[in-house]
């Protein structure tokens, strides 16, 4: 197993030092990523999922700082790397796709030039012509029709879906071992979203990269990912294989998320389940479980002490006091129904 580990994050803490205080966006998360694996990170806005991923490639901007922890990429600690090593890592090992296909491409440059720029940044020996040919091949991989002609298009001449494909082309230009996609389909329509998700799966098969997919949509996760990490209030609430998360849910928050999406296949009527309240402030995070204030099953202990992880299977762990052996079993059954 250990040999296949591509990325390992240990006790990562990231904070933003603002005027109103220290915002603890990520509060001690640990997870690892195998080769060729698609992992989904799910959570609401402000749960720390994007910050966690930006920390991995150290792209955080000023008030943000990694407070402590360890990020091992192929055994090397990213946090201890020099700027030159870091640049090499970002250049040739990790690709990233952001949410907004409108703002992450340069509107004044042709798409082809942007891809060529990326290719030549890590491969100095390649000349303009070869780079252009490679760019064309990349556009074909991400299934842009008439790739050759589209190289000369400006980003604003393309639709949102096309721009997102270009972003993927740039991200895989260096044959990365890790591809991080931060809400790549949120701004897109369902039919286009479907196409992009399909593309993500084929990219994994074609490039052998591991993929981290950040999203707030459980449907997207169910269709694309193999393993899921559920985040809330800067912590990992639950982690497991897709089947485990969906069919053997081990946390009331995941449960609530699952129930708040209307089921297309169910005949309508009734009220939607909704989680009352709103996410906790991260400037002054709650002492106990971050979800306790909104949890219907919260017990006294939940407000006072943060639960440890309980291992439900070798691949499935959850942070909830209901899973403690001392918790009466009928409570557990009720709570995780």
């Amino acid at each position: 197993m250990c040999a296949d580990k591509l990325l390992e994050v240990n006790q990562l803490r990231t904070s933003f030092f603002t005027f109103s205080g220290e915002v603890q966006a990520v509060r001690g998360i640990s997870f690892s990523l195998m080769q060729r694996e698609i992992v989904g990170i799910v959570g609401e806005s402000g749960s720390g999922k994007s910050v966690a991923c930006l920390s991995i490639i150290r792209l955080l901007q000023d008030p943000g700082k990694i407070v402590s922890g360890e990020i091992l990429f192929e055994g090397k600690d990213v946090l201890k790397m020099s700027m030159a090593d870091l640049r090499r890592l970002r250049n040739s090992q990790i690709g990233m796709v952001f949410q907004e296909p409108m703002t992450s491409l340069n509107p004044t440059m042709r798409v082809g030039a942007q891809i060529v720029e990326r290719i030549r940044s890590f491969n100095k020996g390649i000349n303009e012509k070869q780079a252009r040919e490679k760019a064309e091949r990349l556009l074909e991989i991400v299934k842009i029709p008439e790739a050759k002609r589209q190289l000369d298009a400006y980003p604003w001449e393309m639709s949102g879906g096309m721009r997102q494909r270009v972003m993927f082309a740039i991200a895989i230009a260096c044959d990365p071992k890790l591809l991080i996609a931060d809400e790549p389909t949120t701004a897109l329509d369902v039919t286009i979203q479907n196409q992009i998700l399909k593309l993500i799966r084929t990219l994994r098969d074609e490039t052998n990269a591991s993929i981290i997919l950040i999203t707030h949509d459980l449907g997207v996760v169910a269709e694309t990912c193999e393993r899921v990490i559920v985040m809330y209030g800067g912590m990992i609430m639950e982690e497991g294989l897709v089947e485990e998360i969906f069919y053997e849910t081990g946390h009331p928050y995941t449960m609530g998320l699952k129930q708040s999406i209307p089921d297309v296949n169910r005949v309508g009527g009734g009220r939607l389940f909704s989680i009352a309240g709103s996410p906790p402030s991260l400037i002054d995070p709650p002492k106990g479980c971050p979800f306790a204030a909104r949890c219907e099953k919260a017990m006294k202990v939940c407000l006072e002490h943060c639960p440890p992880y309980f291992q439900l299977s070798p691949t499935h762990r959850s942070m909830c006091w209901l899973l403690d052996p001392e918790c009466p079993s009928y409570w557990r059954k009720e709570g995780l129904k």
């Binding site: 609401e44 329509d189 039919t191 479907n194 449907g219 708040s260 909704s274």
Partner: protein, 322 residues
């Protein structure tokens, strides 16, 4: 159709562009001949991809845009023929909830002024009178009257959307257009807002036109719905029927594209996805607008634009296959 058609949209068209001093600007046919009806107290859902004209329909229905042609019958009166002055009493009866709760509230106005603005526009209310009504509305949407003196930035996204809903309720409307009211919110907050909209409907007897691109949510909230594609209405039916057996190839593709939050089902799902992208509305395909992406395209589709036909009771489809 049935007992009382509260709102009837007949062959509504809205074109943008045209004119110009030196050369003709290109014309976009955003809405091109749409007809449907909404009965009192029901929720009519309108879905479609971005750029299909669903928001334009909504805005034209309440005369935020003037239609190019066609008519909108609101409670027996054709409001497209009315002048601004005659329209004013109707304005009170129809309101709108907007998509982006961050952009639709003026950051420099207090909540009181934001919510009371429609009343001020209607005129003749004293300050104490409208303060009371604002307090009522705030309570109705689950906020507290003390929130009146605050500014929008002090609220979270879900709370702001509630303020937007309170603003729509203040004139005691009968018809509310909800233009993607939840798409900017988090999943757990979406459910809160949708539940609230439903209980308000039951309590106040409101009629909704609910626009969204999240099909699961639209199905959940609306009894009947229409599917739009490039300015045309391609299918209208009861929501359940539309999900159980969609008929138009576009609707089928759209339904299949919804990600299912169930990994086993998702893996079993047949892959019938719509390839390609929505064509440019400047230069839409002739004949059926969907013909460029349709799997069942025939020669006639490229030439003749299909009209809405009733193929089953209350199930209308615009497709040459039927």
């Amino acid at each position: 159709m049935n007992e009382q058609n509260f709102i009837e949209v007949i062959n509504l068209k809205k074109y943008f562009g045209g004119g110009g001093i030196f050369w003709k600007k290109p014309v976009i046919k955003a809405v091109d001949g749409i007809s449907f009806t909404i009965t009192k107290g029901e929720t009519f859902g309108l879905v479609g991809e971005s750029g299909c004209g669903k928001s334009t329909v909504a805005r034209t229905m309440i005369r935020l845009y003037n239609p190019t042609s066609g008519s909108v019958i609101f409670d027996g009166t054709d409001i497209t023929k009315l002048g601004e002055k005659e329209l004013k009493p109707y304005r009170r009866r129809m309101q709108m909830i907007f998509q982006d709760p961050y952009a639709s509230l003026d950051p420099r106005m207090t909540v009181l002024n934001i919510i009371a603005e429609p009343l001020t526009a209607q005129g003749n209310y004293s300050r104490t009178e409208y303060k009371d009504r604002v307090a009522d509305c705030l309570r109705m949407v689950g906020l507290k009257p003390e929130h009146m003196a605050r500014y929008p930035h002090e609220f979270s996204g879900g709370q702001r959307q509630r303020i937007g809903i309170a603003r729509a309720l203040i004139t005691q409307p009968e018809f509310i257009i909800c233009d993607e009211p939840i798409s900017a919110l988090d999943v757990s907050i979406q459910a809160q807002v949708v539940n609230m909209l439903q209980s308000l409907q039951e309590r106040l007897g409101l009629t909704y036109c609910f626009i969204a691109h999240d099909l699961a949510m639209v199905k959940y909230i609306s009894k009947r719905m229409g599917v739009m594609y490039l300015g045309h209405l391609v299918e209208v039916s009861r929501s359940e029927e539309l999900y159980r057996e969609p008929l138009h190839p576009y609707t089928i593709g759209l339904m299949r594209a919804i990600p299912i939050a169930d990994p086993r089902l998702a893996r079993m799902k047949q892959e019938i996805s719509i390839e390609g992208e929505i064509p440019s509305p400047y230069n839409p395909p002739s004949g059926c607008r969907f013909s460029t992406r349709c799997r069942h395209v025939m020669d006639i589709c490229r030439e003749v634009s299909p009209v809405l036909k009733e193929v089953a009771p209350n199930h209308f489809v615009a497709c040459h296959l039927f």
